[in-house]
Symmetry: none
């Protein structure tokens, strides 16, 4: 049982943009035992799209089209898939009504060309899209006597993900033979990729029936384990066993074994301790607050804080004495510590965090090069400060700095 994922859009054939939805869909398909056999990218060209659809229907059991469901003349997926299947399109009155209702709720007038979003392929079922104006479609078909499951899904990630999870996966599960696949994900903070692999390779290589994949980001490593067996219990036992051995080896470098992000783990720890958090950010300019508050419900433990980008702000909001900055420089262990203590006091939080560093590409000196970052955490009694020299460009250094800050808070709360 293999799938083909077809991403549609001329922009995906430029040097600038890349399909990323297919990674998400592949993960979900793998979980129900479907492997992706082909991925195709095709532009907003009716001949190309129709021929790509024909090829896919001939060679894959499951064909997922992404994009090209919008209201413009470039949006051709409905027409081309219908042509490849040799079926007609019908404008569905119910869908038209829903489109007008949605626009009314947004307090916007619906442009007339949006009506083509109500075109359904003969025999297809509309997939409601609560997050956008383009409904998806599910079509059951056949190729030389073999069943084909065909999905037309919208391109924007925030639309396609819930539509696939809530409407396509349940339908696929009903159609496909049951599979037993277990996966496990360990996430590891602030450990280098080679150092990590040297420690864990001798473990996962013993598990030949478990597929292991290592992904490394800025201060973040993911270890993915995957196993297929006759029963779910057997598969689960194997991924649990390898993950258990790896956790024993890496200790508290492992911050999550259930897929939680570091932001979520920090939130959980704060909640468990009944603690609140405030941040003072210089070089990260708000990125730490943004990451913490990206988790829904974070208002229970995250108070806020200050973006103390200019030096005056460090004094104004976090009570950092100007003389301290003069004496040690804004990027220093002392200032990071004063920021953490000061913002904690100001906000009456249990825990304060201070970040100061040089994100570059300019502003570095031989003594304080680009990538130098100080991160401090304080609870009013004790303070911890970490000095790090991060590699990479401005963006990567800032991500590293926030990752270090989150990890320091996690360890502080452990």
């Amino acid at each position: 049982m293999i799938a083909e994922i077809i991403a549609i859009g001329s922009e995906l054939l430029t040097p600038f943009f890349q399909d990323t939805n297919s990674l998400y869909l592949t993960g979900k398909l793998n979980q129900i035992g479907v492997e992706v056999g082909f991925k195709t990218v095709v532009g907003d060209n009716p001949d190309h799209l129709t021929s790509a659809a024909r090829n896919a229907i001939a060679r894959a059991d499951i064909v997922i089209f992404m994009g090209g469901l919008g209201p413009t003349e470039d949006d051709l997926t409905r027409e081309c898939v219908a042509a490849a299947l040799g079926r007609e399109l019908h404008r569905d009155p119910q869908l038209i009504t829903e489109l007008y209702t949605r626009f009314a709720a947004w307090r916007r007038k619906m442009p007339e060309n949006n009506e083509k979003q109500a075109d359904l392929i003969e025999g297809g079922v509309a997939l409601p899209n609560p997050l956008g104006s383009a409904p998806g479609q599910w079509v059951d078909a056949e190729h030389e006597g073999a069943p084909r499951y065909i999905m037309l899904l919208p391109g924007p990630p925030f639309e396609i993900k819930p539509m696939f999870d809530q409407q396509c996966l349940p339908r696929l599960k009903e159609k496909l033979p049951q599979q037993f696949i277990a996966t496990k994900l360990l996430r590891i903070a602030m450990l280098g990729e080679s150092a990590c692999d040297q420690r864990v390779a001798p473990i996962y290589k013993k598990y030949e029936d478990v597929q292991t994949t290592i992904l490394a980001g800025a201060g973040d490593i993911q270890l993915h384990f995957r196993c297929r067996k006759e029963t779910l219990e057997e598969a689960q036992a194997r991924v649990d066993a390898v993950a258990g051995e790896v956790e024993d080896e890496l200790g508290d470098y492992v911050y999550s074994s259930n897929g939680e992000t570091l932001e979520e783990i920090v939130g959980l720890f704060l909640q468990m301790r009944g603690a609140t958090l405030a941040v003072a950010e210089s070089c990260t300019g708000g990125m730490l607050g943004q990451r913490i508050s990206s988790v829904s419900g974070s208002s229970r433990h995250f108070l806020g804080g200050a973006i103390v980008y200019a030096n005056d702000m460090k004094n104004l909001f976090a009570n950092v004495p100007p003389m301290l900055i003069e004496a040690h420089g804004a990027v220093s262990r002392e200032v990071a510590q004063a920021m953490a203590d000061g913002i904690r006091d100001e906000c009456r939080a249990s825990i304060g965090v201070g970040i100061t560093g040089i994100a570059g590409p300019t502003g570095g000196t031989p003594e304080k090069p680009v990538g130098l970052v100080y991160v401090a955490v304080s609870d009013g009694k004790k303070t911890e400060v970490v000095e790090r020299q991060f590699p990479g460009d401005r963006e990567r250094i800032r991500v590293y700095a926030t990752q270090q800050a989150l990890d320091l808070v996690r360890r502080f709360l452990m």
Copy 2:
């Protein structure tokens, strides 16, 4: 003249890895007037690869295979492309000698199976690979009387890039007529995709010789124009003409015509006016500060501000009277305005911004639903407040809110 790029490797069909070489090759191909019509990803499966090769040779003038040139049994590109072309493979004695020489220089004994890397497709030319053991191949072919240029290239980015630039591009330029291509990019803030297209489609459709691509994000639209002519001047004149007409139509919705981001434009405007900016963010939790400070050099005009996630913080850092919050609610026009005024005063900035809203997924009410956001900008004399109802998930609503804030500042400074 179109190209198809085929990436080969089962790892590229997992949720974890993605081909990025094709972006690089696409940029280079575009420069010599070649469009990429299709991209395909296929695993290390001989049937899949052979059928993908056949499809590509039938529909594209230029076919580039990436990967699968190694010495293992999984490396099948040579065999499958030969099969698709109906040609034989010959083991080339010269290439065998070079492989042994290369291994000798590395002081390693060459495993016998590496000899298959010396297999050349009948009529093919070897492309030396100074950076790896896998030579590439160039094959001239035909499909129904039309010429086909076929390249087999290695997968690793540091091998494929120099091989393509130094050996494939010069050959392609010789074969293809010389081309002159001009491009232009307009960026548009806070205009809906359909509304935008309705206004600009009548313009760009008149320019049949200009290729137009529309990309829409949260409150951000990119219009890419591209034209090919006999001379560069002619091509440039056409993209300038269509872009000029679109700018006339959309007026100040267009924030950049040279590729700058909205963050960069706001930074430039602040600098031009000698103004400084401070922000008070509630639902966006630091994202606005993070976006502004993502631009190197932003410290010249961005002072910082406060993440006033909890209500107390709105008073503490931005002097919002608690009674105002009680009377109107934290998510209200009045509080947004007080945040903008207050943070401006506190930071002694020329301009203050306040953002308050409901990012969801929880916390919405019938009167104040998820997605409701107020954004205020103040310069101490006048204040502007915008109320918006944004669609999408938590992340998207937050991106929209920061986009609205940046755009409001831009308009305020115009």
